[in-house]
Amino acid sequence: MTAIDLDTTKLAADRLFQRKRLMGFSIPAVILAYLTYIFFAFDLPGLAERANMDNAVTLVSDSWSHKVHVTRDNRSGEISYAVEGERKGRYPEGARPAWVTGDEVITIDLGGDHIVRYLSDNRTEIEIPDFPLIEVQAEGRALTTNLPDDLPDWISASNRRIGITTPEGRITLTGARTEVFNYFPGWELFWFTLDSPYHGQSLSKILFGERVDPVRSNISGAISDWWNNAMWRHKDVAWAIGETILMAFLGTMGAAIIALPLGFLAAKRFSPIMILRAATRRLFDFVRGVDALIWTVVLARAFGPGPLTGALAILITDTGTFGKIFSEALENVDQKQIEGVSSTGAKPLQRYRFGVIPQLVPVLLAQILYFLESNTRSATIIGAITGGGIGLMLTQAIQTQKDWEEVAYYIVLIIAMVMFMDWLSGWLRGKLIGRKD
């Protein structure tokens, strides 16, 4: 008997080992096979062709640096200086960067012995070390140059357009205009635009020095100029972040308020009518299954783009999620407390208030706070679709494909915002229901 037992046990153990060994190899094999399938299904070999590395380089270098444009309009001969070439970043009349000198001949010193001279009659001279002096003459829409035929790869030239890229800066010449881009690290004009009197003043001077602007006190003037900075739009950005958090807040809290009574309807213990219970549950499944994306699309048709649409989309989707969680929590409520309360002669409403709610609150609050944080992220995404909040500003900045420093700024702000909400919800959770351990 025992020998047979031992044999069968051994056989079973052997089989178990074999199965485990098979699993140990088959799971990685399946994963590998799937990844191989994806490799071709997503056309990863073709990705290298589609990828635009120039875009990547522009993106990375622009996100931490800025450029100042020195532009000569070849028709009027007018020369303008502007940060990022934007109207809002234009140097005021009569002012120009220190690395530009001369009146008749405008000399632009890009640094590292790279010098560009704007001469009269739309002529341009470009001095680059270890390269012969480049001379360009713009006439009408055409360019004539002394460039040799075999060009290094940092120069691209045709008779309509010449582009020169050096480590110190970039020069583009066309018949209509001559432009020099000089690159500098940092986010220029982040604090004050050039038309603000506070631009270029030190912090200590603004805080403790004499009045810079005779009309306003330094601190209030500086804050208002910073707040209304046309280049970085701090005011709009703050509003956008507020909108995003508002969407998350309204959506989460609204969903919780609606889901709580519905959760009672869906819980077996509190809702004796089977059909009603099943109907409520299907409703939860339905609103959850339709998903925030489709709700956003549908609601945007009715309410137009904006934070309210986003808030409602979050609200509807999360009503389903919360309803499900709440009804599950309600089913797991301990009967003893309710019995205890009803033994004192409590009416049904009082039984709910003192027997059920206290058991439910910790679960409820923990979920609501967790969703508040995760919905901040959803609100950013929904904002990008429906048009509201920081998500919209980010998509717009990315779609213009030039303000990468603004994109970097928004990304930093979004991460900070989500981390702040994460911290806040953790802190509130600790305050309201105590630490978990």
């Binding site: 994806i38 589609r50 909108e243 998903d291 925030a292 009715a302 904006g306 934070p307 995404i381």
Partner: protein, 291 residues
Amino acid sequence: MVDISLSGAPQSVQTIQSSYMAQVQRRRLYSGLTLLIFVILMVSGFNIADDRNAGGFWNGLHQVGDYPADVLSEAWKKRADLPALMVKYFPALIETINIAAVSTLIGAIGGLFLSLLGTRGLAKWPRLIPLFRRISDIMRAVPEIVIALVLIFVLGGGPVPAMIAIAIHTAGALAKMFSEVSENTDLKAVEGLSSTGATWLQRMLLGVLPQVAPNYVSYTLLRFEINIRASAILGFVGAGGLGYELRNAMAWGPGRFDEAAAIFILLFGTIVFFDQVSSRYRNKLTDGQTH
């Protein structure tokens, strides 16, 4: 002693009662105030959101049903075409599911390493624990759309940007959940293994993973549900899949509502299907744990 307590008893009951009542009152006041602040926040928040919305809430409320009704009525008129349209969009659906599956897979592997490297007692380099935790915090905080949009600019449209974006977020999110689980692992197995001279990888693979696998798989399945939704949404901003087709069909407007309806149905069915399947498996996994 007895005297004191006898004479003190009625007094102390009274003080206890009055202090209890005072406490109750204070509690009521506080919870009333909290409720008031909450209501004010909700109402004013609603008004601000309503103000900044393009269309007002009360004007739009009766139009909510219009768009679904238009879509449904057109789809109903062309209901004969619906199966064909669903077949047409089936590859897009597969792409959406694939994006979610691959990113969940890669994210789970990444999250696994991040969590093991960021858990006290398990980390390979204990000094770098804060670093790995910050990394996973940041990866978790980045919304998928941020990375997706930037990558679409560099890599062009298609499933790859969405896949990378969702994988990064998933790794961060799972790292947090995993490390909550692995903090509670029994270290005896790890110690036993290290006494045999096992390397870090072997200790993790043989000592920790078997303990935490059910929970990890359960969290990963939950994440997969979430990622299907995320991958549909990212499609909407140009990352391929069903979301992309949905946007195109919607941009067309009336006349192609039948296509929009077919996509709606596919998306809805997929989400519900995977929700059900994954929740069944998750229940099974966590059930097995209690035995």
